[in-house]
Structure formats: structure tokens, C-alpha cells
């Protein structure tokens, strides 16, 4: 017994000693360290830093945000010095008249973290190496576009293209990421760049690797002593000496971590997690100071139709289904009211609010839809105000809901379609449908069956939205059901779906050019039924009118003002045709703790970048962050 007692006492002492240690989460100086959630979670191959090969090493571990760089950036919000950044490029791209050649002038005096200067040779090497190695990430994109690339001097590179491409520069322009430049002097010494792990990565940006967890839970980056010799350093001096990107864990856990001031930036949270933080944290900063708090990303969740499959090939059917959705209820069920709605095919965020959303709002007010029996005005500009009014009745939100019309539009959207079951019925009847008893049948007498594919537990907000939409269709007499799956993109690629919640519209956010997503909607890229559809036209919709718009955009420069006119034409066309039912922006519940750092991006005070920290552009936060404590 004595031995047992001694063992027990020893164990108890060990536990006490272990718990008695200070509760710091790291041995880094906390006041000099910003701790950021990496939404990739645990990295399965943590020692893999070769971002040019999909080697399981993680992208948003800080690697792409703080150590990589490329020619240009477009900020999804306002940017610090405007939305367009010449990063490693000294100027904007220079195209020849028929867009078959692009010349790039590079900055002088930019250095890799090992002291070697960045030159045109690095850029040429990046392009040629990827074309020569089909296993590399951007190999195919470059191979189909580039005929030749050469450095005409150490700071000038000329690309000759295989066919006219007025948007070729987009491959080297960061939205979320882009083709990052490779350090030629490192990679040219390794045998096969596809098998090279780049285990001691050198950096062309203001931070370099300090340490990483061999189990993939955290990565720590340290400000370079020579940060001035990097494109990020040209914008300003980064505040944090160290930046740690960590696996935040499930929503409850990261909420706890931020309440304990152990996590400065949460990438995304559930609406409930965000509301808890708003309720309990005294040091919280969010994109919108009040409701809905979240950042609207330039991505447009929508109900996507498989337009190659009857009856979703008929615009009347698609419109009927749109008119059966009560978006107020969907917003409350999915985002708990914290959505920014969009009735049109562009996300309600960034430059689109003034360039497209506001003018289209006026056009939509007078837009008429012919149901065959009557002409209706389906647009309801009061829906965001109605949502705001509903939320204002909740005591905990009442002071945070704006009353100003512009603020309501920015936070809740401009408007959406008014539920109109009568008009929906008329549209279905015109399409040959009949109501037998309480159920709608198709022209061939079969029940009108709709399956709405939703992403299971990984995007609960959209699962909730899809489930409610299916219920609303069912209440109207349609055999509708939400169909959860772990990966809705797979059936969407294969064309094996009726309708799905997803997105086929992603824009630059900070630039009005629609080509980022719209080019891939051209009819020449629409797969035949049964074949795999390349991104992003998951709806497989084509139209001669749309092709004309896309070809028009292809024929003009990316900064030609005519681009906005083409954008408006596209928006009006998709309102009439409804190939997808746009719902809302992808609101990301990023939250920031001000205990150790201030200067986070917020709207409308200082919306200098997207606070969502896995975006390449989020590097701008490093410049604006200042210590909150001496």
C-alpha cells in the first residue's frame, strides 16, 4: 500500500507541477505577436512549403499572406492607396493592340530574405518551370496561354501569348491568391521542383519563417530586418514583430480563445459564435460595428440550377421557384438576419455597391415580369428595411440596427424578390405544369420533383438556407427536398444535380471588371450533358446574348470604362433569364480582439482591406496594426 500511496502522491505532484505553469499559450512576447486563425485547420504535411505544388502543406498558414508576392494585387475593399497595387511590378501591365503580348516592368531593389535581389529571371523561371512540369499548380493555366516569355533586361519581361487575352495579367494579380514568383536561385539547384519541399522557405515579402509545428497546428513568421526591401515594406512598416497562424478548432473553442485574448483574429465563426462575442467581449472589433458584424466577401451564394436538365432549362420554371422563396425567412434561418442580400448576379460588396448594386436597384424597381396572365413588378426594395425592423425589436440588437437607408443597403442589401405564389403558379402553367390536388405536375404528368443539394455540416449557414428553401417549395405543392452532401461541388461538376446551393459568381471586389468569373461562362466552355463541367459555370447555362457580352469584354482593356456597361448588360440579362437565384453575399464572421492590437479594417471608418485573414490581401493588416499596449 505504501508503494501505491507514493505513486499516487507522485502523480498528483506531477499534475500540480504541470498545471502550475504559467498559462501563456506561447513563449513569444505576446505584445509583439498577432495570433490569427488559419481556417485550413491542422496541416497534414506541415513541412511542405512548396506552394507551387499541391503538396498538402497549407496555403493560408501565413505562407501566401506574408512571404509570397507577385506582380499585382487588387484589394477586395478600398485598399490603403487605392484598390490596385503594383507589387513586384513597377507599373500596370502593358498590352499590345491585339492583346497577344504583355510587357511587365519590374521594381528594382526588391530582395529575397536570403539577400538575393529579385529580377526578371525569377519571373521567367517561374513561368517556364511551371510549364515544363505539369504537376505544378499553375502549369496548365500557363501552358494554355503562354507561347514564350523572356527577360529583355533585368527588370523587363515580355510574354507572348498563344491567343489574344486582355486579362492575362489576372493570373499574376492577387484576389485571394495568384501565381506567386519563385526564387530561381533556390529552385534551379534542386533536381525535380515537383518533389522539392522548400523546407526552409525564403521570402520575398516582409516576413520570414521563424518556426512551425511539426504536427501542423501553428506557424510563426517574423518580421524581416530588411522589410523595407519588399513590396509590402514599400506600403509601410508592419506592426507585429511576429505573426502566428493557428488551427482555431471548432467555433465554440475559438470563441473561448478570443474571449481569453489568446486569438486576435478569428477567420470565420457561426452567427451564434459572433453574437456571443458581441455579448461578452469588451475588446471586440468587427467589420460592421453593429449588426450584421460580418464582412461580405465578393462571392455570391445562390440557388444554382442545372439548366441542362428539364424542367430547369425553362426560365419560367426558374423564375417561378425564385418567386416562391421568402428571403426574409431564409435570412433569419441561415444567417440569423445577418446577411447582405443581393437580387442580382454580383456580390453586394466592395466597389459593386456603387458601380452595380445602386444603379441596378433603380432599374429593378421598374422591372416587369410577364407571367402570361399579368405583368408584375417582382422586386421589393423594402425587404432589407423589413429585416432591419424585425431585428430592431430584439433587445440585444436594437441599438445596433441602422435606420439610415444607405447604411441599411450596405449592411442588409438593396432589396430582393417579393414572394408571389400566384405569379409562380402562372409561370408554371405557362411552362405546361398543372396542379393536381395539392401537387404540381410536369407537362408529362410526372410530379414536379426538385432536389436541392446542400453542403452538409461544413457550411451550416447554407445548409439551413437550403433546407428552408426546399420547405417553402414543398409548401407550394412541389416535391422538394434538401439533399445534404459533404461536397456539393462534385455533383455540380458532374452535372448530377437538379439545384444546389453554391456559387458561380466571384468578383474582384475592388474592381468592376467582371471577367474574373464571367469569362468562364462563355458557351464554348459549357460541357455536354454527362461530361465534367469546368469551373465556374456550374449552371451550364449559355446564351448568345451572354456570349456577345463576354466577347465584348475580351475585346477591351481591363480598365476600359465600357467594362461597366458590359457588366450592367450581364446583370440585366441574368435577371431576365434567372440561371441562378442570387441570394446574398458570403458573409464571413471575422472578429478581431483589440486587447493587444488596434487598427483592424472596419466599415465605414477604415475599410482598407478584407479582414478575412486567409486572403492574400489581408497582408495589409500587418501595416495598419499597432500595439494596443506599451
Amino acid at each position: 500500500m505504501r508503494l501505491w500511496r507514493q505513486l499516487l502522491a507522485g502523480a498528483a505532484l506531477a499534475v500540480l507541477a504541470a498545471t502550475a505553469q504559467a498559462q501563456d499559450i506561447s513563449n513569444l512576447p505576446r505584445k509583439e505577436t498577432v495570433i490569427i486563425e488559419n481556417p485550413e485547420g491542422t496541416i497534414k504535411n506541415p513541412g511542405w512549403f512548396n506552394i507551387w505544388v499541391n503538396g498538402g502543406g497549407g496555403l493560408s498558414t501565413g505562407l501566401q499572406q506574408l512571404t509570397m508576392d507577385t506582380l499585382w494585387y487588387i484589394d477586395p475593399d478600398q485598399g490603403i492607396n487605392g484598390t490596385w497595387y503594383n507589387s513586384l511590378a513597377a507599373d500596370k501591365p502593358i498590352y499590345n493592340a491585339d492583346f497577344t503580348e504583355m510587357t511587365v516592368k519590374l521594381r528594382k531593389g526588391m530582395y529575397w530574405s536570403d539577400g538575393v535581389e529579385f529580377t526578371a529571371d525569377d519571373l521567367v523561371y517561374t513561368v517556364k518551370t511551371q510549364i515544363d512540369h505539369p504537376g505544378m499548380v499553375w502549369s496548365s493555366l500557363l501552358a494554355v496561354s503562354v507561347d514564350s516569355v523572356e527577360a529583355t533586361d533585368p527588370y523587363t519581361v515580355v510574354f507572348k501569348l498563344k491567343k489574344p487575352n486582355s486579362r492575362f495579367h489576372a493570373l499574376f494579380t492577387v484576389r485571394w491568391n495568384a501565381i506567386w514568383v519563385m526564387p530561381k536561385h533556390v529552385f534551379e539547384k534542386v533536381g525535380d521542383p515537383v518533389k522539392f519541399d522548400f523546407a526552409n522557405p525564403i521570402s520575398i515579402s516582409a516576413y520570414k519563417l521563424k518556426n512551425y509545428d511539426p504536427q501542423g497546428k501553428w506557424y510563426i513568421w517574423e518580421k524581416r530586418d530588411d522589410w523595407q526591401r519588399t513590396p509590402l515594406g514599400l506600403i509601410g512598416e508592419p506592426g507585429p514583430k511576429y505573426a502566428a497562424y493557428v488551427d482555431g478548432g471548432p467555433p465554440d473553442k475559438k470563441t473561448i480563445a478570443q474571449l481569453k485574448h489568446e486569438l486576435d483574429i478569428i477567420h470565420d465563426n457561426t452567427p451564434e459564435g459572433m453574437f456571443t462575442l458581441v455579448d461578452q467581449s469588451k475588446s471586440l472589433a468587427t467589420w460592421f460595428k453593429g449588426f450584421p458584424y460580418a464582412h461580405p466577401d465578393p462571392t455570391l451564394p445562390a440557388v444554382i440550377f442545372n439548366t441542362q436538365k428539364a424542367p430547369f432549362d425553362k426560365a419560367d420554371v426558374r423564375w417561378a421557384l425564385a418567386l416562391l422563396i421568402d428571403m426574409k425567412a431564409v435570412d433569419l434561418a441561415s444567417y440569423r438576419g445577418a446577411a447582405t442580400l443581393s437580387a442580382i448576379g454580383v456580390p453586394p460588396t466592395g466597389i459593386a455597391m456603387t458601380t452595380y448594386q445602386a444603379p441596378m436597384h433603380e432599374w429593378l424597381k421598374s422591372f416587369e415580369l410577364d407571367t402570361g396572365k399579368e405583368k408584375i413588378k417582382p422586386y421589393d426594395p423594402t425587404i432589407p428595411t423589413q429585416i432591419a425592423d424585425m431585428l430592431r425589436k430584439q433587445p440585444k440588437f436594437k441599438d445596433q440596427i441602422p435606420t439610415d437607408a444607405t447604411a441599411i443597403a450596405n449592411q442588409f442589401g438593396y432589396g430582393w424578390w417579393k414572394p408571389n405564389p400566384k405569379a409562380a403558379g402562372e409561370l408554371l402553367e405557362r411552362a405546361g405544369f398543372k396542379k393536381v390536388g395539392s401537387q404540381w405536375t410536369q407537362p408529362d404528368g410526372q410530379p414536379f420533383r426538385v432536389r436541392l443539394t446542400v453542403e452538409g455540416d461544413t457550411r451550416s449557414v447554407f445548409t439551413r438556407a437550403g433546407t428552408l428553401i426546399a420547405q417553402q417549395w414543398k409548401q407550394f405543392g412541389i416535391d422538394a427536398k434538401a439533399q445534404p452532401t459533404t461536397n456539393p461541388w462534385q455533383p455540380m461538376q458532374a452535372g448530377d444535380f437538379d439545384t444546389a446551393i453554391g456559387w458561380s459568381v466571384e468578383t474582384w471586389g475592388g474592381d468592376a471588371d467582371m471577367s474574373f468569373f464571367l469569362d468562364s461562362w462563355h458557351s464554348s466552355f459549357v460541357a455536354k450533358p454527362g461530361e465534367v463541367q469546368p469551373a465556374r459555370n456550374w449552371q451550364r447555362w449559355s446564351s448568345p446574348e451572354l456570349d456577345k457580352i463576354i466577347e465584348g469584354i475580351r475585346g477591351i482593356s481591363f480598365d476600359d470604362p465600357k467594362g461597366v456597361d458590359y457588366g450592367m448588360d450581364y446583370l440585366k440579362l441574368v435577371v431576365k433569364e434567372m440561371p441562378t437565384i442570387p441570394m446574398m453575399s458570403y458573409n464571413v464572421f471575422s472578429s478581431m480582439d483589440t486587447t493587444y492590437w488596434t487598427g483592424y479594417p472596419t466599415f465605414p471608418d477604415d475599410p482598407y482591406t478584407d479582414p478575412v485573414p486567409n486572403w492574400g490581401n489581408s497582408r495589409l493588416m500587418m501595416i495598419k496594426l499597432k500595439p494596443a499596449q506599451p
Binding site: A14, V15, A17, A18, T19, Q23, I25, S26, N27, L28, G41, T42, K44, N45, W48, V53, N54, G55, G56, P134, G135, V137, W138, S139, S140, L141, V144, S145, R167, A170, W176, N177, A178, K195, P214, Q215, K217, W218, I220, A244, V246, D247, G249, P250, D252, K253, I256, L259, T486, W489, Q490, P491, F516, D519, S520, F525, V532, P534, A535, R536
Partner: protein, 334 residues
């Protein structure tokens, strides 16, 4: 002895068959899933950037070739076994070209360390308390402890883990809530590193022990309650044998045989990982690796992990089968 050796040989044959069938079934199940690793990789690559559809088609062809996914499933099956028999699990498809074995064996020690410790601790605590509770059936303290542990059992593990996390990580923040060691830790072996690792493993281990101990306790208490009514126990009591000796040598020893079988099964199953523990406590291990591999359609990694689990369970059962006749003379080899 010859009969025993024949028994062992037969059991070993069964072991090989189980492993072969288990791994083959896993191969075909993973290849029947709708998740396509090439599409997943393309999705990772193109999700956020500008992607030319023509380039995506080229990418699809290249990756299919690179991942060795051309040819029909049967050809891939033959190629898989020929590689496996050479001890090569192949490259991970979602972390190409890193070998699957390298990825698994980086995370495996954490799962094995945590699970073996937690399983053994819960086994010892649960069985000791179960034996005492079954033997000293009138003891109030034992009744309260048993009730407490059994009461914890129906609580979903996820909830229990979060209760512990909130209690010891937030309300009374004495324990870390994430990771296997502190951020930026020096990982060279030292006393402070060991202490740090212990400190980080307390909460995940505690959650596993609290859940596991109740089940061992229930089983052991039932077994003990039956054995104490056996004639040989009554005879020993009448013969004046001390209660401690009766409990240790007559009751526990007999009750322990089925529990040891359970222990072997539990230890064999540790390769399945502890997904919830890893997610809730941010603890390293192979559980999240498996989930990620399933989502990414990484057949190679799923097969590597599943093979490990199948071999682990099969060997554990095999060992119990061949040791049982030696441990308990009532079990005959034939």
C-alpha cells in the same frame, strides 16, 4: 502442445484472411465513393483564382496521370497490392508526392501515446472500482463513485469534452485548451518539454478516462457480482480466507479474463484515432488526418490508415485468441 500449435497456425491463417479481406473491402469502398481526388485537387487549386476552363481540362488529365488513376479499378487494385506487399503505401494524393507512411507516422505517436495511456488508466480505475463495488456492495462511497462514473457515460463525448474545456480552460483556466505543446516550443527532449506535453494531455486524457472508466466499471461490477455468488467464493469465505485475498485471487482474477479481451480490442482499435478529442482539444493525431483524407478523396491515405487499423485490431484479436488458453485453463485450444 501439437494441438495448440495447429490452433495457432489456423488462427494465423484467419488473421491473414481477415487482413486481406478488410483491406480489399476498404480499397473498393474508397474507390466507390463519389469523391474524386483529382476534382478535389483542382478545386483546391482553382477555388479562389482565375481559372481558364481549357486549362482546367488539361489539369484534370495531368493529375489523373500523375496520381496513377488511369486504368480501371481492378488494375489499380493489383497495383495497390503489389506496392503494399513491398511495404509501400504510395504517395498521398492530397499531399502529393509525400509518401503516405511519412504523413501517418508523424501523427501516429500522439494518437498511440494518448490512447494507450487513457485506455490503460480508465481500464485500471474502472476495473478496480468495479471490482470493489461488486464485492463491497453496501459501501456508500463506492455507490456514489459508481453512480458518478456511470452517470457520465450517457453524456455525449463531445459535450463532456466541451464541459471540461470550459471548466478548466475558461472558468478556472489552469490547463491549456489547444495543441500537444505550447506554441513555439523547443522540441528537443527536456524535462520542461515533457511537463509541457503532460500539461497539454491532461484535458484530452481526462475526457477519455471519464467516459471509458464508467464502461469498465459497469462490466467489472456485473462480473464481480456474479462471481461472488459462486460456490468456491462462499467456500473460501467459510474457510476463513481473508476478504482482500478472496477479492484479489478468487474474484478479480476470474472476472478479469473477459475484461482483458475487451482491453485488447480497445488497444487494437486505437489506430482508429480519436477524432473528437483531436478536434475539440486541438490535439495532434491521426483522427483528423483520416477525416481530411476522406473528404479529399485521398484513397492512398485512407487506405494507409484503414490498413493500420485493420492490422491492429486483427493482431489484437489474434493475440487474445492464442493467449486465452494459456491464461485461462478452462478455455481449450480445440
Amino acid at each position: 502442445m501439437t494441438a495448440y500449435l495447429i490452433f495457432v497456425a489456423r488462427r494465423f491463417g484467419q488473421l491473414l484472411l481477415v487482413v486481406f479481406l478488410g483491406i480489399s473491402a476498404t480499397f473498393f469502398i474508397t474507390h466507390m465513393t463519389p469523391v474524386d481526388p483529382v476534382a478535389e485537387t483542382i478545386s483546391v487549386i482553382t477555388n479562389f483564382s482565375k481559372a481558364d476552363p481549357e486549362a482546367i481540362e488539361l489539369m484534370r488529365k495531368t493529375l489523373t496521370e500523375l496520381y496513377g488513376l488511369q486504368g480501371n479499378v481492378f488494375e489499380q487494385y493489383i497495383s495497390f497490392w503489389s506496392r503494399l506487399l513491398r511495404g509501400d503505401l504510395g504517395p498521398s494524393l492530397s499531399a502529393f508526392p509525400t509518401p503516405v507512411s511519412q504523413i501517418i507516422f508523424r501523427a501516429l505517436p500522439w494518437t498511440v501515446g494518448l490512447m494507450i495511456s487513457a485506455t490503460l488508466i480508465s481500464f485500471l480505475i474502472g476495473n478496480a472500482l468495479g471490482a470493489l463495488a461488486g464485492y463491497y456492495r453496501k459501501s456508500r462511497i463506492l455507490k456514489i463513485v459508481s453512480l458518478g462514473l456511470i452517470g457520465l457515460q450517457p453524456i455525449p463525448y463531445y459535450i463532456l469534452a466541451f464541459i471540461l474545456l470550459i471548466l478548466f480552460g475558461f472558468v478556472w483556466p489552469v490547463l491549456p485548451i489547444a495543441g500537444g505543446y505550447e506554441m513555439n516550443a523547443d522540441l528537443t527532449l527536456s524535462f520542461s518539454l515533457v511537463l509541457d506535453i503532460i500539461r497539454h494531455s491532461i484535458l484530452p486524457a481526462l475526457a477519455l478516462v471519464l467516459v471509458g472508466a464508467g464502461s469498465w466499471l459497469t462490466g467489472m461490477r456485473a462480473l464481480t457480482s456474479n462471481i461472488v455468488t459462486e460456490d468456491y467464493v462462499t467456500f473460501a469465505e467459510l474457510g476463513g480466507v481473508g476478504s482482500t485475498r478472496i477479492l484479489r485471487s478468487y474474484v478479480v482474477r476470474n472476472a478479469l479474463v473477459p475484461q482483458l479481451t475487451g482491453l485488447a480490442m480497445s488497444l487494437g482499435a486505437i489506430f482508429n484515432g480519436t477524432v473528437i478529442t483531436e478536434i475539440v482539444f486541438g490535439y495532434p493525431g491521426i483522427g483528423t488526418l483520416l477525416i481530411d483524407a476522406v473528404h479529399a478523396g485521398d484513397y492512398s491515405l485512407v487506405l494507409g490508415l484503414a490498413s493500420l487499423s485493420i492490422v491492429g485490431v486483427a493482431i489484437a484479436v489474434f493475440l487474445i485468441d492464442i493467449l486465452s488458453p494459456l491464461l485461462d485453463p478452462r478455455i481449450k485450444a480445440e
